[in-house]
Amino acid sequence: MEILKSKRFQNVATKSMIYALLALGAIVIVIPYVWMFVTSIKPVEEVQSYPPSFIVKHPTVLPYQNLFRLMPILRYLWNSIYVSAAVTIANLFFCSLAGYAFAKHKFWGRDKIFFVLLGSLMIPWQVNIISGFILIRKLGWLNSYNALIVPVMAGVFGVFLCRQFIMSIPNDLVDAAKIDGCSEFGIYRLVILPLIKPVLATLAILTFLQQWNSFIWPLIVINSNQMRTLPLALSVLNSQFGTRFATIMAGAVVATTPMLIVFLLFQKYFMKGITMKGLKEYGTP
């Protein structure tokens, strides 16, 4: 009995320690977000008052009004949505199309071409950034949607992901459709597409998230006032109005909230997708 009691005590003690640790961690993760929001509704006097407080005495929307006065933030929101959506739709189509051909077709050079594509995942963006900029300038695409959308319309990782998934579809299905007189594009559209919805959902989430948060490429190819995306707008706020913290935090709220809501709604898919990307891209242990 004594032993049982002590074991049980030990269990409870361990459990409480675990909860304490996890709760502490969660607080540390959440506080910056809370601080962002709290600051974004503070009047100027309260932002830099001492001691800093999480309680806002006179909440105000003034920082948001300032934000809208300083920059066309709705236009930037639209740019972010438009670019992310366009890139995502293009990737879903082109990656699944190529993935299907690489998985189910036999043609000269198939494996070699695929191997080269895959190898390019090891190339860091720093190598391409200078020449990419000059290419876009030559094309006359600086400050245009084209610059943000076209180069990333068919990501290699997406092709890889789709190919992997389509390979698990039985050949019989494809062959049966062929015997029924289905065209090649018909097979893709009527047989393959309906079957790969899960992987398309993953790819959509990954692509949209990546584009929504993309910064370096827009920083290089966009400098016009109208064409900025949200991360770029935040960066400009930061460099031009670095001390107006309430306004900057209002900008951060606008830039983070949409993605935060989408994440909380689809968190399982997000975590699965992002983890899988890491594991696949760098090789599974």
Partner: protein, 301 residues
């Protein structure tokens, strides 16, 4: 069943049409620029006048004649060595905690993961504000409350890099934790039960079961850490930006990629920056090869 020649040709036609968009975009926006950069890395190029061939001069200057480059290498190494051990240990600890029989498992996992879906730019401006000012900044206020001296984080040559490191550890906790969780799933529960029967305590089990069996995942997390740390840029760009450029006071937080950006897009030394890009490429390539050899895995095709 052998297919006829024309059926094959027809199928091949469609195959090439199907892969054409992906392959063409790849040739134009990846292969082309990679080759162009390689050529430009041997030239002097300001993006206005035609590139002038200078042979190995850029590489020679970078390695033997450029204290700023070596400063950036030093900073990048310090950053990497600071972020990886602490970040890995903390995320492992959290992963083990979440992996226990507890309530709110999914809640905790989701919370820790939030920074992984937030734009680094947003995170950087938030943390810049957390680190701000002598007193009214939240972090300095906490330091004062626990009896420590406040620090002028982003204005001091000593503390800028550690500030960025703290933010990076915070931001990557959830992602690494999820990777470790994937690893913990692979350890059979029976191993722990056997250890229980032998009377092993929590720490025995951690040292002799969890840690050894998790090793491939730990190596993996560390390698990803190396690759991403070596390329760190956005947070440096946001947190250290001033009229003088990027990199903080006395270049105290200038990383290799921040230096590349500075050379390419502020000083317009495109040839020099291309050479820096190739140096980054080679280092990342070596780390990736070590990863493949070390972990002894192949990417599944």
């Amino acid at each position: 069943m052998k297919k006829g020649f024309f059926t094959k040709l027809n199928e091949a036609k469609w195959s090439y049409i199907f892969i054409a968009p992906a392959v063409l975009l790849f040739l134009i926006f990846v292969v082309g620029p990679v080759i162009a950069s390689f050529y430009w890395s041997f030239t002097e190029y300001d993006a206005i006048h035609a590139p002038k061939w200078v042979g190995l001069a850029n590489y020679k200057n970078i390695f033997f004649n450029d204290p700023r480059f070596w400063k950036s290498v030093r900073n990048t190494c310090l950053y990497t060595l600071g972020v990886i051990p602490l970040g890995t240990a903390l995320s492992l600890l959290l992963a083990i905690a979440v992996d226990q029989q507890i309530r709110f498992k999914n809640f905790f996992r989701a919370i820790y993961f939030i920074p992984s879906v937030t734009s680094v730019i947003a995170l950087s401006v938030i943390w810049k504000w957390l680190f701000a000012g002598e007193k009214y900044g939240l972090i300095n206020h906490i330091l004062i409350r626990v009896g420590l001296q406040p620090v002028d984080w982003l204005m001091s040559p000593v503390w800028t890099l550690p500030a960025i490191m703290i933010m990076s550890i915070w931001a990557s906790l959830g992602y690494n934790m999820i990777l470790f969780l994937a690893g913990l799933q692979t350890i059979p529960k029976t191993v722990y039960e056997a250890a229980d029967i032998d009377g092993a305590n929590v720490f025995d089990k951690f040292w002799h079961i969890t840690l050894p069996l998790l090793k491939p995942f730990t190596v993996f997390v560390v390698i990803i850490g190396f690759i991403t740390s070596f390329q760190v840029f956005e947070r440096v760009y946001i947190m250290t930006q001033s009229e003088l450029g990027i990199g903080g006071v006395l270049d105290s937080a200038l990383t290799v990629v921040a230096y590349l950006y500075d050379m390419g897009f502020r000083k317009f030394k495109m040839g020099y920056a291309s050479a820096l890009g190739y140096i980054v490429f080679v280092v990342v390539f070596i780390i990736t090869i070590i990863n493949i050899k070390f972990v002894k895995t192949k990417v599944e095709y």
